[in-house]
């Protein structure tokens, strides 16, 4: 047949099935026989596969230049998350913390160690730095330590940023990541006035949450958290409070129970998140085999889908990112899993002392004594030196999967991402060794599973998936 092959990648799924994808994320499952015909230019133009491949710009019969233009537009759209540069700015008002989490990635400081609080002079420099970003959207996310231990600094930063934004006119948003134990009605009145969002951590039922995230002194953190979540919702509104979970070896085999807890607490989103190997997570021996996580993730994803089919709307975050990348033409920048990497250009973190790191994980490594991902300090480094540095350029250049060994050939790469800090932490260098990378192993298996579910073409599963992508609960038929 007279057709032109367009760029695509392939992966053998089993003896008779091959998965094809292109740079824009268009994909196709074809038989081994059809694959042979395709590459030998023998594929019949009458076949459904031929028409499918043509529709997805994996082959073109004529007007090759037009198809190139179309592919360029699709690729540009997929990468449009790069257009606006750094939008996420994480700020650490204090390293002090009253939690004693088993997997703490920051190596927290005691609550009376006030020399780990941010000063006003540092905060002012940070705000100036943040507003030098060209991004039309600025999200300031307070991280810790526990930010509420230095609430006066949180207020100072919010007010400084709002003052600056009177002239800068950005789409400014605030989020506090907190264990909520110290939240008071007065704080909430302030946060309501300034439209601040809350992101907290909920790792499961009372037993699981207390096991993973005890307070210092061993008090029951779970019941305090639930009480404070409700208090926050009453003041700020239901949609202003979200929660994240982390999988340790304690809740690894109880992920369905974690989902049940999210439902019990009326959450409509959960992100089944594996452990990051930093800080105390590395020392406390609470890590687990990546295959075990994937096995439990798959079972729990099925469970979440079933819960949705049964009428309770709850989005699973990791699958939703993948589904958006697989099923829509739109860009989905997610700093932990995108390429080029989000390090510095998607998000940056400003520590209590003004040190700036490419990511929270970079800060975690620094707390373990390795300052590889320190970009500079707001007191001594200019914006240009921080964000236009050879270090950052080199980091981003190496994080393009189009030129990374193994990833360059991987048919799942259009849906995946690159994490230079994780590679460095786990494997000793930024590029990493992909065949032995746990992150690659996890992502590949989860992507394959999501593709399997898509391939089923089950009406009910599809309805759930699209409700996740569009963030709109499906319309239920009235009984």
């Amino acid at each position: 047949m007279n057709y032109q092959l367009f760029p695509f990648k392939f992966e053998t799924l089993n003896e008779d099935e091959i998965f094809l994808s292109n740079e824009a994320g268009e994909f196709c499952f074809i038989s081994n026989n059809e694959f042979q015909q395709l590459i030998n230019h023998d594929l019949s133009s009458d076949s459904e596969t031929y028409l499918d491949l043509k529709a997805k710009q994996i082959i073109a019969e004529s007007c090759v230049n037009d198809v190139i233009d179309m592919m360029a537009v699709k690729l540009r759209t997929k990468k449009s998350f790069l257009d606006n540069f750094t939008a996420l700015h994480m700020v650490v008002p204090t390293l002090r913390c009253n939690s004693n989490c088993v997997y703490c990635q920051v190596s927290r400081k005691n609550i009376d160690s006030k020399n780990f609080d941010m000063s006003k002079a540092t905060a002012k420099k940070i705000i100036n730095m943040i507003f030098k970003s060209p991004s039309p959207s600025i999200k300031i996310e307070f991280q810790g330590g526990e930010p509420l231990l230095n609430f006066n600094m949180v207020k100072y930063i919010i007010e400084q940023a709002e003052g600056k934004n009177t002239f800068k006119k950005r789409n400014l948003e605030f989020v506090i990541c907190s264990n909520l134990s110290l939240m008071t009605e007065d704080m909430l009145k302030y946060l309501k006035k300034h439209n601040v969002y809350i992101s907290t951590s909920l790792d499961g039922s009372s037993f699981l949450h207390n096991k993973n995230r005890p307070l210092q002194g061993g008090q029951d953190s779970y019941h305090t958290l639930i009480e404070k979540i409700n208090l926050c919702r009453n003041h700020l509104g239901h949609d202003h409070v979200s929660a994240l979970m982390t999988t340790s070896m304690y809740n690894l085999h109880n992920l369905k129970e974690v989902v049940d807890e999210y439902i019990k607490q009326n959450f409509n989103a959960i992100f089944l998140r594996s452990l990051n190997p930093y800080g105390f997570a590395k020392e406390n021996n609470i890590d687990y085999d990546v295959d075990k996580f994937v096995e439990n993730y798959k079972e729990t994803l099925d469970y979440v889908i079933q819960v949705n089919m049964d009428g309770y709307y709850i989005v699973e975050g990791f699958a939703t990112i993948l589904l958006s990348r697989i099923l829509t033409p739109f860009a989905t920048g997610f700093v932990d899993m995108q390429f080029p990497a989000g390090a510095g250009i998607g998000g940056a973190i400003y520590d209590y002392n003004g040190n700036v790191y490419v990511s929270d994980e970079g800060r975690m490594l620094a707390s373990m004594g390795d300052e590889k991902f320190l970009m500079g300090n707001v007191h001594s480094t200019s914006y240009d030196e921080l964000f236009n540095s050879n270090f950052l350029k080199s980091l981003i250049r190496t994080s393009c999967l189009e030129c990374t060994a193994a990833c360059v050939q991987c048919a799942f790469s259009p849906y995946c991402g690159f994490d230079p800090v994780r590679n460095y932490s786990e494997q000793g260098n930024i590029i990493g060794h992909i065949p032995s990378s746990n992150l690659c192993r996890k992502n590949k298996q989860v992507i394959k599973y999501v593709l399997e579910l898509i391939k089923k073409n089950d009406k009910n599963i599809n309805e759930v998936f699209w409700s996740w992508i569009t963030r709109k609960p499906p319309q239920r038929r009235s009984l």
């Binding site: 032109q4 367009f6 695509f8 990648k9 090759v64 190139i68 050939q409 065949p435």
Partner: protein, 111 residues
């Protein structure tokens, strides 16, 4: 010699590969994907033959025979990738140039 010959000596599998069928790039790419489970040594033994030796790492759960069979399959995939790359590589370059060029440069790309 058209087909790959396999010999096993103690804990080493020796594959003799014809470079008129499989390019050195395909052999290296395949070797990279296998260096998690085994040590690989490539040696040119004539103008058209490469000997690849696979030695299992101590922690590998795979058998040497299965590993060498998988390696042969991987060689085919790698060679196919290189073959089709020849057909569409220039198109991919053009797509990337167009996708990430400022609009002002569009005319130059088309000329």
């Amino acid at each position: 010699m058209d087909k790959i010959t396999k010999n096993f000596e103690h804990d080493i599998a020796k594959l003799t590969i014809n470079t008129e069928i499989y390019s050195i790039k395909a052999i290296i790419n395949a070797a990279y994907n296998f260096n998690k489970d085994c040590y690989l040594y490539n040696e040119k033994i004539s103008d058209s033959l490469i000997e690849t030796r696979l030695k299992l790492k101590a922690n590998s759960s795979l058998s040497l025979e299965k590993l060498s069979d998988e390696f042969c399959n991987e060689l085919i995939n790698q060679q196919i990738r290189l073959n089709i790359e020849k057909e569409y590589g220039h198109i991919r370059d053009l797509i990337f140039k167009k996708a990430f060029s400022p609009i002002d440069n569009e005319q130059n790309l088309n000329s």
